[in-house]
């Protein structure tokens, strides 16, 4: 039986609350944190050496003050004022990921990404990936010029003269491409119309046949094909979650990772306002708890292989006429209830599925049509282009490659076909067979390749060519270099070394998007521009530099009609030309192109009323003509009356959905199934070299630096929580177990995977994140993401219709084979439920007698039954020793309730707050007086966090790192509780213990007006400001850490090591992943630092400053303009990053301000208000809107 639990909890161990757990966690500082760092080895002699050196250094340093230089510009650009930030509108695109952004630059270097609020798609929201993208530009692994690859390595010499220049390689590549009969350009989804046009021009110029192969590692191929079958348009429908009253998601993580999460998250939260009469309902059907599932009002747990049956059951209930669904009774009843709910919300319902099965997607279309979703929750006049990949095309390309039909492959930046798809093994093998420097399973050392040895392979290849047909052989036999040309020319435009660049013959590195010109059309008619915010870095420092991939294609094809290679910025001209010929012609707002261009470039986005057409320019396989504009239709085979369509005349086709329903897969019989899911930080693996993203905890599992096998937790009668095979009994101690996972029978090698217990993981199912386990994320000695986690791509299968499947029914999980002693899960770090000691030992509350008892020893098992740890709680504040209320629940950390019972929730909060305030009045601290005398005038900063709006997407966490120069510490240090995050997102569960809901709580410094940390600092390094801010003064701090101990919210972070790599002794710098030079120690990486924020040195405490630098800047702007401060002047980093607007910041003395309005919400409470901290961060309670019939 399951159990409703009215508490919130953070994990199994805490819920179980065993004596051992209490023993380990009832101290404020966890035991692991006190471990000496075994990696630091210093002998006594070393100590004396350091001492001697230190004394000498100090003496010398004090004698002479270093001469500092100030170097002004020779000719200062008009747009730059040193010390003042400049913002440029641009667009973050990475495959199908799309966020229009504003790039903050200082002295010509980008340092921070903000959302572009002029975009109708994201309205200023960002994602963790977009926030972290600025760091990838300063990746030390980046190629600084074109290179040949031999022996699996790009040949880059230290002596620059030895490297081939662009001209040399362009000649070589261009000549060979013109000789190729079959050229394939392999890419993820391309959002840029100009890049597509460049490929078109390339195709037109090339004598051979060029085909663009687009694929998506996390494929939506079936979704696209289903829509093509139904509407004649191969595109993603443009969903409007904000118009939906009932949302049903089938294994579809639309808030975290699916297609356009920033947009969907914003829309979703717009429909979930707790102050109105209506709040949307959301049911998620899945086996693994995704970010979306954790936010759902109700979750129905269905095995991955039964997803199809669940959709079928819903189809039968809503539309009717399909094959009988084969679903267990409980799930079937629940689906019936969902169907009732959906029918009740006709015209405001939306069903989405992340499935990559054609028939399942067809049924979803039929359901949405029947529910009248087209025209209301799915826009009928715009398609989204954010996924365009085709699994079948990729499979066809691989077959061609293996069959020797391809002469040249150009892999565009971002795509990593040797890693990120189901065919990676075949792709790798095919190109390795083609590589003369690869023998017997390994690469020859590129510096010791014996030319003669290699040559036989060259001759073989030549011989094969000769037999193949007639071509200009002179290219191949011209000189010693060309003798070694491979049969298949493979070129990568990747910016960093990857698994794919290793296999290619040339690397012609692309610019980072912050150095590029470009454009994007993510949704029809919504255009955005990409403009450079820095001069291409490597070209500017005397290297050959990078070049945009579109430009490379145009150069190789010798396109000169539409592209002028002699211009100063040729690709800019090319993009402009495309816009002049395309978008400009279709709009009516501007009459001159220059005005149009200037406006679009300034805004970064251009919304065209006319949507144009979904145009792939005939670049794919067999494409004969461009598809006409078309839109979905609700009329054809839907039995219900259609909602009125606006302007669009659809070309909907008739699809026999009942036939489709008969082709839904029968549910799997296997005992265990496993799903492979995408995480918000790692995506498909393309972000694998970004330390910011590697260290962001997965929002649901709260693990960092790797992927971990989620195992189910079941509740067995009474109070016993059992994880699968009793694995991971000591997660709270930072220990985990490893098991062997074998997927797909004997063909696939099993992998050893670390396990994590996961609530909401359906019994009999497992989950493992995709995108980890990359072998090569960067240059040797510099790569940060190598071998982090386990690669699951080889386990992906392709179904009989050619679609990649992200689950497997053939999985065998072994017993524990090993243990992970350094388990970097942050779940049990910095928790707020505290118990206490007195001078005689640990204090316990005796539940039998009601007395407090003190023990200085471990409790016996018998004793631990009736003794509970004594908690610091409100009653002890007043009457020490009298009664107690322990546990997390009685402390005001989380309030949650259902939408139907809002009044009760309000009452509960009000009651608790009255109680807390009553307690707080029993104090010597004259808070009211301070408010009257100090805070009541000028500014009084406050923040408001709406827990109903927070979806846990982690964008704010990364934004905070970026804004405040917060350092990453690496897996080992995370394990030691040393992560430096100023802003963490705590995740609590509540409700059904086997299938709980989650609530995400962004937790940062609460800026208490009666701050416990301030009183205990011996050197006044953390005083209070007149504006109600708790200030942290690094240069005063001597590192006693009293403040961190005394902080009830556990938000203060100590620089245990030289995380900023600013000190003298490198032995204090942590390595993230065996890199040669510690991350951050390189001048290139340091360019990302915000110059307005001090880089903290070792031995000082740091914490959230409410972005003091932004507040000071905002106040200064207001003062200079001689006006009152506006909310828009002081927007903090986490606030601007949030896609859903969950965080509001402002001056609460400004009664008209945003934050003052938010403070009127009756659902507000202060965390740990009963401790009289008088904090400044208000939280609004979590509200869900569950469906009664799905409870229990």
């Amino acid at each position: 039986m399951k159990k409703q639990n009215d508490k919130v909890w953070i994990g199994t161990d805490q819920l179980q609350n065993s004596a051992a757990y209490r023993a380990a966690t009832d101290t404020e500082v966890a035991a692991e944190q006190r471990i000496e760092n075994p990696r630091l080895e210093a002998t006594r002699r070393d100590f004396l050496k350091y001492l001697g050196f230190g004394m000498t250094a100090a003496t010398i340093a004090s004698c002479d003050i270093p001469v500092r230089k100030a170097i002004p510009y020779v000719s200062k650009p008009d747009t730059i004022v040193p010390g003042v930030a400049t913002y440029y509108a641009s667009t973050f695109i990475q495959g199908g990921d799309y966020v229009p952004v504003l790039v903050k630059t200082r002295e010509g270097r980008p340092i921070k990404i903000e959302g572009n609020s002029m975009s109708p798609i994201t309205e200023g929201g960002t994602s963790a990936r977009a926030q972290a993208s600025v760091l990838t530009m300063y990746d030390t692994s980046r190629f600084d010029g074109p290179a040949r690859v031999r022996g699996g390595r790009a040949l880059r010499e230290r002596v620059y003269a030895d490297n081939p220049s662009w001209e040399v390689l362009d000649d070589e590549i261009g000549g060979r491409l013109r000789n190729a009969r079959q050229i394939r350009i392999v890419s993820h989804t391309i959002l840029s119309p100009s890049l597509k046009l460049a490929i078109r021009d390339f195709k037109n110029r090339m004598p051979g046949n060029t085909v663009l192969v687009q694929y998506d590692p996390i494929s939506s191929s079936a979704l696209l094909d289903a829509h093509e079958a139904a509407f004649g348009v191969r595109a993603v429908p443009h969903y409007r979650f904000d118009n939906a009253d009932v949302i049903v998601g089938f294994n579809c993580d639309f808030l975290g990772t699916w297609i356009s999460p920033v947009e969907y998250g914003r829309q979703y939260i717009a429909g979930r306002r707790t102050d109105g009469r209506r709040m949307s309902r959301h049911v998620q059907v899945e086996s693994h708890m995704s970010l979306t599932g954790s936010n759902a009002d109700n979750r129905i747990m269905v095995k991955p292989s039964q997803q199809g049956q669940a959709i079928l059951a819903l189809y039968n209930a809503v539309v009717g006429g399909g094959a009988a669904a084969n679903l267990n009774a409980t799930a079937a009843a629940k689906i019936q209830a969902v169907a009732n709910e959906l029918r009740g919300a006709r015209g405001a319902a939306l069903v989405v599925s992340g499935s990559n099965n054609l028939y399942e997607q067809q049924l979803v279309i039929a359901i949405n049509r029947a529910l009248g979703s087209y025209g209301s929750t799915i826009e009928t006049n715009r398609w989204s282009l954010q996924r365009q990949g085709s699994d079948q095309n990729m499979a066809r390309f691989i077959a061609e490659l293996e069959g020797g039909e391809v002469d040249a492959v150009i892999v565009l930046d971002g795509a990593n076909p040797a890693f990120d798809n189901a065919w990676a093994g075949q792709f790798t093998a095919a190109l390795q067979a083609n590589d003369p420097t690869f023998r017997n399973g390994e690469y020859l050392d590129p510096r010791r390749i014996d030319e003669n040895e290699v040559e036989d392979r060259g001759e073989q290849a030549d011989a094969k060519e000769e037999n193949d047909g007639n071509r200009d052989e002179s290219v191949f036999k011209a000189d010693a270099v060309s003798r070694n040309f491979r049969r298949v020319l493979a070129i990568s435009t990747s910016t960093v070394p990857t698994e794919t660049t290793q296999l290619c013959e040339y690397v012609t590195p692309n610019h980072h998007y912050l150095e590029s010109w470009g454009d994007a059309e993510a949704v029809q008619g919504v255009y955005s521009l990409i403009q450079p915010t820095i001069v291409p870095i490597f070209g500017a420092v005397n290297r050959y530099g990078t070049r945009q991939e579109g430009e490379s294609l145009l150069v190789w094809s010798e396109e000169t009609e539409r592209y002028d290679p002699t211009a100063t910025q040729p690709y800019l001209n090319y993009v402009k030309r495309n816009w002049e010929e395309g978008v400009f012609g279709s709009q009516g707002r501007f009459t001159s192109f220059q005005a149009f261009w200037d406006s679009a470039l300034h805004d970064g986005v251009f919304n065209n009323a006319s949507t144009g057409s979904v145009n792939d320019y005939g670049l794919g396989y067999d494409a004969t003509a461009t598809a006409p504009a078309a839109a979905p239709d609700a009329t054809t085979d839907a039995p219900q009356e259609a909602p009125a369509l606006t302007e669009v005349q659809p070309t909907a086709r008739t699809v026999d959905y009942n036939a489709a329903s008969r082709r839904i897969l029968a549910p799997g019989e296997a005992e265990n199934e496993i799903t492979f899911f995408e995480t918000v930080n790692m995506g498909n693996g393309v972000y694998g070299n970004n330390p910011w993203l590697l260290e962001v905890p997965d929002p649901v599992a709260r693990t960092t630096w790797g992927n971990y096998l989620s195992i189910p937790v079941t509740y067995v009668d009474g109070n016993s929580y059992t994880a699968y095979k009793d694995l991971n009994p000591e997660e709270y101690k930072g220990k985990a177990d490893k098991v062997t996972v074998a997927v797909g029978g004997e063909n696939q090698a099993p992998e050893t995977v670390t396990v994590v217990r996961q609530f909401g993981q359906m019994p009999g199912t497992f989950g493992l994140a995709i995108g980890y386990g990359r072998r090569m994320t960067g240059a040797v000695g510099k790569a940060i993401g190598n071998e982090v986690g386990v690669n699951v791509y080889p386990w992906l299968t392709v179904d009989e219709d050619g679609y990649v499947q992200y689950y497997s029914g053939e999985v065998a999980i072994s017993d524990k084979v090993d243990s992970e002693e350094e388990f970097p899960s942050v779940q049990y770090h910095h928790t707020m439920g505290l118990t206490t000691h007195n001078e005689n030992g640990r204090v316990y509350y005796n539940t039998v007698t009601g007395e407090n008892e003190t023990f200085d020893r471990e409790l016996t098992e018998e004793e631990s039954e009736y003794l509970q740890p004594f908690h610091v709680d409100e009653k002890t504040v007043m009457e020490l020793g009298e009664g107690m209320q322990g546990g997390l629940t009685k402390r005001s950390i989380i309030f949650q309730g259902s939408f139907a019972e809002l009044p009760e929730l309000r009452e509960e909060i009000a009651e608790r707050r009255v109680e807390a305030q009553h307690l707080n009045e029993q104090t010597l601290y004259p808070y009211e007086e301070y408010v009257k005398d100090i805070y009541s005038q000028g500014h009084w900063w406050a923040m408001h966090v709406d827990l109903t709006s927070c979806i846990g997407c982690a964008a704010c966490e990364v934004a905070c790192l970026s804004e405040n120069n917060v350092q990453v510490v690496g897996k080992y240090e995370v394990w030691r509780h040393h992560e430096m995050k100023w802003l963490r997102i705590d995740r609590y569960f509540y409700g059904d213990v086997e299938n709980p809901r989650a609530v995400y709580q962004p937790m940062m410094c609460q800026h208490c007006d009666n701050a416990p940390c301030e009183n205990v600092c011996p050197v006044a390094a953390t005083p209070h400001s007149d504006e109600g801010m708790n200030q942290m003064i690094y240069n005063r701090c001597i590192g006693t850490r009293y403040c961190a101990n005394n902080c009830p919210y556990k938000v203060r972070r100590f620089n245990w090591l030289d995380f900023s790599t600013a000190d003298l002794f490198s032995s204090n710098e942590p390595e993230l992943n065996d890199e040669e030079l510690p991350f951050g120690a390189d001048n290139l990486t340091r360019m990302v630092l915000n110059p307005d924020v001090t880089v903290r040195s070792r031995g000082v405490i740091e914490k959230c400053s409410f972005c003091a630098q932004r507040l000071q800047q905002g106040k200064l702007t207001a003062k200079i303009e001689k006006r009152a401060l506006r909310d828009s002047d002081v927007r903090v980093a986490c606030q601007t990053a949030c896609p859903t607007g969950a965080i509001t910041f402002g001056d609460r003395n400004n009664k008209q301000g945003d934050v003052s309005r938010k403070l009127e919400n009756p659902l507000n409470y202060l965390v740990l208000e009963e401790t009289n901290t008088q904090s400044s961060v208000f939280y609004a309670a979590r509200v869900h809107n569950s469906i009664e019939a799905l409870e229990a």
Partner: protein
């Protein structure tokens, strides 16, 4: 003598010595890193007395960041060229110093034009350009023809020395001028010129001294935290004519009621640590 050797006196003397020693040590320790009166030589003998004093050029004409940025900004060479296109012979040093700015940006005073592709030129080519100029100009200014060659070589050497830096590997004459920074505050201090100049209406001389009388600039103020704090305690903010301060309602009422004379920086939180340290 007895008195002088008595234990009391000796004890007192020792005590006094310890106090004196301690006092000096602490004072010197506090002064570590401070550089009041710091007056380093600069690559160009720029004379503030001539520019700001005699010719009365407004400080912010050149230091144009002061009104809008945290940095007051040392002017870029193109700012110098606004005047020095026309003025190519200095009153103190003739061609010696002014030619340095020409050589930095690539202005050919004989042609009256910027040199194309100047950043591609070698040092010898650069020197050829200015060798001709210095010789011509000095001849027209009436320098003895016999001395010309020495003067030219001496000045060219000066130019090369001023515009290159063997330590940083900057071997080229062309390119920016490396001035020696006089006013330094530690990295953990945030100072914003705009706040003081535009909002606070402070004169530059307040902190930098009578620069218009300095031939060679030196650091006038100690730039110590005590000095900052003291000023924040004493200085009145521009309270009445700035709408921003409207939110300090109680102060306005008190001023109206005559209880309060004015509002100092301290009164609006100017002593809060996080105004300068974050």
């Amino acid at each position: 003598m007895q008195v002088l050797t008595s234990r009391g006196v000796i004890a007192f003397a020792v005590f006094a010595l310890v106090v004196l020693f301690g006092y000096t040590t602490v004072n010197h320790a506090i002064d570590l890193g401070r550089q009041q009166d710091y007056q380093p030589g600069q690559p160009i003998k720029f004379n503030h007395q001539v520019h700001a004093g005699i010719h009365k050029i407004e400080c912010q004409y050149c230091h144009d960041g002061a009104r809008r940025s945290k940095h007051s900004v040392i002017p870029a060479v193109n700012t110098c060229m606004n005047c020095h296109r026309a003025i190519n012979y200095g009153s103190n040093y003739g061609t010696a110093e002014i030619t340095k700015i020409f050589a930095s940006i690539g202005w050919d005073p004989l042609e009256g034009a910027y040199i194309a592709n100047y950043d591609q030129m070698t040092n010898d080519q650069v020197k050829d350009v200015y060798r001709k100029w210095i010789a011509n100009k000095n001849l027209t200014e009436g320098v003895e023809a016999d001395d010309i060659e020495n003067i030219v070589e001496e000045q060219l050497e000066g130019i090369e020395k001023a515009l290159t830096n063997e330590y940083t590997g900057d071997e080229r004459i062309a390119g920016p001028i490396e001035w020696v920074r006089i006013h330094n505050v530690p990295d953990h201090v945030y100072f914003n010129h705009a706040q003081h100049v535009t909002v606070g209406n402070l004169k530059c001389q307040n902190c930098h001294g009578q620069v218009q009388e300095m031939e060679e600039v030196y650091q006038y103020s100690p730039l110590s935290m005590g000095w900052c704090i003291n000023c924040h305690r004493e200085t009145q903010v521009q309270f009445d004519d700035n709408e921003y301060y409207k939110s300090y309602e109680r102060y306005h009422e008190e001023i109206k009621a005559g209880v309060r004379d004015g509002v100092t920086v301290e009164d609006v939180g100017g002593l809060n640590c996080q105004r300068c340290h974050y």
